[in-house]
């Protein structure tokens, strides 16, 4: 980026510094140079105008200026499944959705269970990516759930956390060992909580809707028993646990209790778990087929409560793009997953519009907390930080049209929805995306 | 005793002293000092622990403490004088001779003791005796040396 950027008159929200007000933010040489909140003297205003002269100026009046969002759960599919998504297309989609940092899960082909694949992902992103990518390494070799993968060397290669996501770690002893071993390298273990025996054959939430559709169900308990197990193991070992994609009321309750007892657990949910219920599957809509499945209204209520009281720390996307052909088939055979990078922020803003979260709290859930959990210097507009900034027009209404997605994955249950709030400019790695 | 040893051996050629732990060690050192005074010659002095060669190991409740054995020269062809404080049953001397044999092949083994209290159980006799002190079997003789921080002296202790 040649030169500097001055974003003026936007409503800056940076919970890492307790900033929540209209002001200007100056970017110099790819780093945040400083923030000035308005309300100063005429003299100060004059100084600002002079400085503005030699930079590109953006007038953000009426819009919000946030730290670039951090998605700690996404599937970028490369290496191995490039027909669904690539690092290039996935990071483009991220930036379009206001995300400047993305963590990619290891269920690629080959699985990211060693430093060589980690290095490949980072190299690819360096060459073709539009935002920062932080790989999450596999917990077990091949994600088979048997032998631990070389966490130490993967950490050194650039992995920020470990997960077998896509699959649970079924063997309790292996999970215990993973939590113990992770302490040496001070990384969180991210758990996809699913008891495979209980969920076997299920394709949507177990309940009335499934009965009416004649589809096999996945009970809430399939998730809850594993949340309980993992939380107990975290307590036993003192390791850091992060629960991925929380979808049920029971899970929220268990996590809340665990935090009260001082267990080192954090949790994330995804927009589809606080916006839509199992009813959206009606008509055998495969775009609503996701694992964990869409649940009931009471689960939505519990998750919102969990977001409000801090039980749930993060809103992540679990961006799971699939090729159109794969989703265009009988419900039983369609793969699980929702393409979420480009709709997440707007759906998150829905919580602000609805009074569930304040704007600073939303920024915490989508930027600051994920960065803290992963030990990244992101999600903040502190002076000296990388200039990862997103300007959001929270009033702009737009209709979700997956064909217009930058992501290769067009599989979203929000097709046709009118959402309020859209990123109009994302600044990342010295580039401005509009 | 020092004079006798020199006389019997017609000088100090090839002579060496080995004191039996513990009582014989101080005595051997004293003898060597005397011999140095008389002849002006330093003859080698060593120490020998016989615990490992005792014939009563299986019978005792307490294990004898194994002390230092230090014979830093080759005994073969040497005239070796074993030195002990008290000669009693003779079993210690038998053990000492077995031990010496494992170190080499002395040309002669002689025995010097400070006190002979009688009651031999084996055909062992001393070549040099400081004093004969008849005792009864129940009594115990203790020899003290100033080198151990006590005054030189011999004490007869009855065990009643």
């Amino acid at each position: 980026m040649g030169g500097n950027v001055l974003i003026r008159n936007g409503h800056i929200v940076d919970p890492s510094q307790g900033i929540d007000g209209v002001g200007d933010i100056l970017i110099e040489h790819g780093k945040i140079a400083g923030i000035e909140i308005h309300g100063g003297s005429a003299e100060e205003r004059k100084q600002r105008e002079t400085k503005a002269a030699d930079s590109r100026t953006v007038d953000a009046a009426g819009m919000y200026v946030l730290p670039g969002l951090v998605d700690m759960h996404a599937h970028l599919r490369e290496p191995g499944f490039e027909s669904k998504e690539t690092i290039a297309s996935g990071t483009m989609a991220a930036v379009k959705g206001g995300f400047t940092s993305v963590c990619c899960m290891p269920n690629t082909d080959p699985v990211n269970d060693n430093e060589t694949v980690t290095e490949f992902i980072l190299r690819k992103n360096h060459a073709e990516g539009s935002c920062y990518v932080y790989p999450i390494g596999a917990i077990t070799k091949g994600q088979k759930g048997e032998e631990l993968a070389e966490m130490g060397m993967m950490r050194e290669a650039g992995c920020v956390a470990f997960s077998d996501d896509g699959r649970p770690v079924t063997n309790g002893l292996v999970m215990r060992r993973a939590l113990e071993y992770s302490k040496v390298f001070d990384v969180p273990i991210i758990s996809h909580c699913e008891d495979l025996a209980l969920s076997e054959g299920g394709v949507m939430n177990e309940g009335e809707a499934a009965l009416l559709l004649g589809l096999s169900g996945i009970p809430s308990s399939a998730e809850e028993v594993m949340v309980a197990r993992d939380v107990i193991l975290a307590g036993l070992t003192g390791g850091r646990l992060h629960i991925a994609h929380v979808s049920t009321e029971g899970s929220v309750r268990i996590i809340r209790r665990a935090k009260e007892r001082g267990i080192r657990v954090t949790a994330e949910t995804c927009p589809h778990y606080f916006c839509i219920t199992e009813e959206v599957v009606e008509g055998y809509n495969t775009d609503a087929k996701v694992n964990p499945p869409l649940r009931r209204q009471r689960d939505i209520d519990a998750i919102m409560q969990g977001l409000m009281d801090g039980t749930i720390d993060v809103i992540a996307t679990d961006h799971a793009p699939h090729h159109r052909d794969e989703k265009r088939r009988e419900f039983d055979k369609a793969p699980f997953g929702i393409s979420g990078l480009e709709t997440a922020l707007a759906l998150g803003l829905g919580l602000v519009h609805g009074g569930v979260l304040t704007m600073p709290q939303l920024v915490e859930k989508m930027a600051l907390n994920p960065a803290r959990i992963l030990g990244l210097q992101k999600g903040t507009l502190k002076a000296g930080s990388d200039a990862d900034v997103v300007v959001v027009d929270v009033k702009r209404e737009w209709t979700v049209d997956p064909e217009g997605f930058v992501s290769k994955g067009k599989n979203t249950p929000f097709r046709g929805w009118v959402l309020k709030g859209k990123p109009v400019m994302t600044i990342c790695k010295g580039k401005i995306h509009e | 005793m020092a004079h006798e040893i020199i006389e019997r051996n017609k000088g100090t050629e090839g002579l060496c002293l080995v004191g039996i732990q513990r009582g014989g060690v101080n005595l051997a050192k004293k003898l060597s000092a005397r011999i140095r005074d008389i002849e002006g010659v330093d003859i080698p002095v060593g120490s020998l622990d016989i615990s490992l060669y005792r014939d009563d190991l299986g019978l005792r409740k307490e294990h004898p403490v194994v002390r230092q054995t230090n014979i830093p020269w080759d005994l073969t062809d040497r005239k070796t004088v074993l030195v002990d404080d008290v000669l009693f049953t003779g079993r210690s001397i038998r053990a000492a001779m077995d031990a010496l044999m494992d170190f080499g092949r002395p040309s002669q083994i002689q025995l010097a003791v400070l006190l002979d209290r009688g009651h031999r159980e084996l055909p062992i006799r001393a070549d040099y005796v400081g004093k004969n002190i008849p005792t009864s079997k129940g009594e115990n003789i203790e020899v003290q040396f100033e080198e151990d921080g006590r005054e030189d002296g011999v004490f007869i202790v009855s065990s009643e």
């Binding site: 048997e146 032998e147 113990e180 071993y181 | 054995t69």
Partner: protein, 306 residues
């Protein structure tokens, strides 16, 4: 002293001192031309090894022979145990042969205690399960004392699979009686709860080795790899292997010890194993002297005539 040596945990510091002092004298015997003393002549020792072992078995056998003991070796594959004989019957039969010492190594913890309760011979534990290996702890202590003059106040870093190591356990029990400062270094799954013993635990080896006086390396058993204890030998060596660079973090004259056999390149690099600070071969020599001392001191009469 007692009849048996089944564990160091219950042995007093005085008795340990006595063993180590006696071992010193026996070490002198081993330097002589005639490395034999008639001390245990006429006594019989049985080496009852249910687990394979070359070093320990050979060490015991040599110790026994140097004391003029008659030696019997009981090897499991060719024994009656294969025919289904119970452990109890096996040891009672051995006792009936009129044996004075039973040296036992077994994969189940507590077997030496079981045998000691049931026979009148003196039982010496040569390693039971993941419980204890008392003579190894004694020879390690002897080696340290010989080189450093004593045990009190030394900082001793034990590195590796402490959890499954009977060598480490016995070592911990012994060194705790002497006021040594003990550190355990290794991946979390291989370091046990220390249950009231005063031990500093390190998962970062560089931090744990700083200013150590003694480094005791433990053998990594390959079966533990992959079963969650550590992902691969490369990763193990990278974070917990002793190389020259790490050795430099300890005191300049720190001792490097290993109970053997070593996995060069997995827990210890070749250059460290062969360096001047390594006392691994001294441990082997001292092992014989220490075992001789143990047998000498356990040998007891009943006070009556023979």
């Amino acid at each position: 002293m007692r009849k048996d040596l089944v564990g160091i945990r219950e042995v007093s510091r005085e008795d340990i001192d006595s063993i180590l002092e006696t071992a010193s004298s026996f070490k002198d015997v081993l330097k002589r031309d005639i490395k034999k003393v008639p001390t245990l002549r006429g006594k019989t020792a049985v080496n009852l090894f249910f687990e394979p072992s070359t070093r320990t078995k050979t060490s015991f056998e040599l110790a026994e022979k140097r004391l003029s003991t008659d030696v019997l070796n009981f090897s499991v594959p060719t024994s009656s145990v294969v025919k289904g004989e119970s452990l109890y019957d096996t040891v009672k039969t051995i006792e009936a042969y009129g044996v004075d010492f039973i040296v036992i190594r077994h994969s189940s913890s507590g077997v030496p205690h079981f045998i000691a309760r049931n026979v009148s011979a003196s039982v010496i534990n040569a390693g039971d399960g993941i419980n204890e290996h008392p003579t190894q702890a004694l020879l390690d202590a002897f080696t340290i004392k010989e080189k450093k003059g004593g045990l009190d106040g030394l900082t001793i870093a034990v590195v590796g699979d402490v959890f499954h190591s009977r060598v480490a356990k016995s070592g911990l029990y012994l060194l705790s009686k002497y006021g040594a400062r003990i550190r355990f270094i290794g991946p979390p799954a291989l370091i046990p709860e220390t249950n009231g013993y005063d031990v500093e635990v390190f998962h970062n080896m560089d931090a744990g080795l700083r200013d150590a006086d003694v480094i005791m390396m433990l053998r990594i058993q390959m079966e533990r790899q992959g079963r969650g204890f550590f992902p691969s030998t490369q990763e193990y060596f990278r974070y917990w292997g002793l190389n020259m660079k790490r050795l430099g973090l300890a005191k300049k004259d720190a001792l490097v010890m290993h109970p053997g056999p070593m996995n060069r390149g997995i827990e210890i690099s070749s250059d460290v194993a062969d360096s001047s600070q390594s006392v691994i071969l001294d441990q082997v020599t001292n092992g014989i002297a220490v075992r001789m001392a143990v047998m000498y001191l356990l040998n007891r009469g009943d006070g009556h005539g023979r």
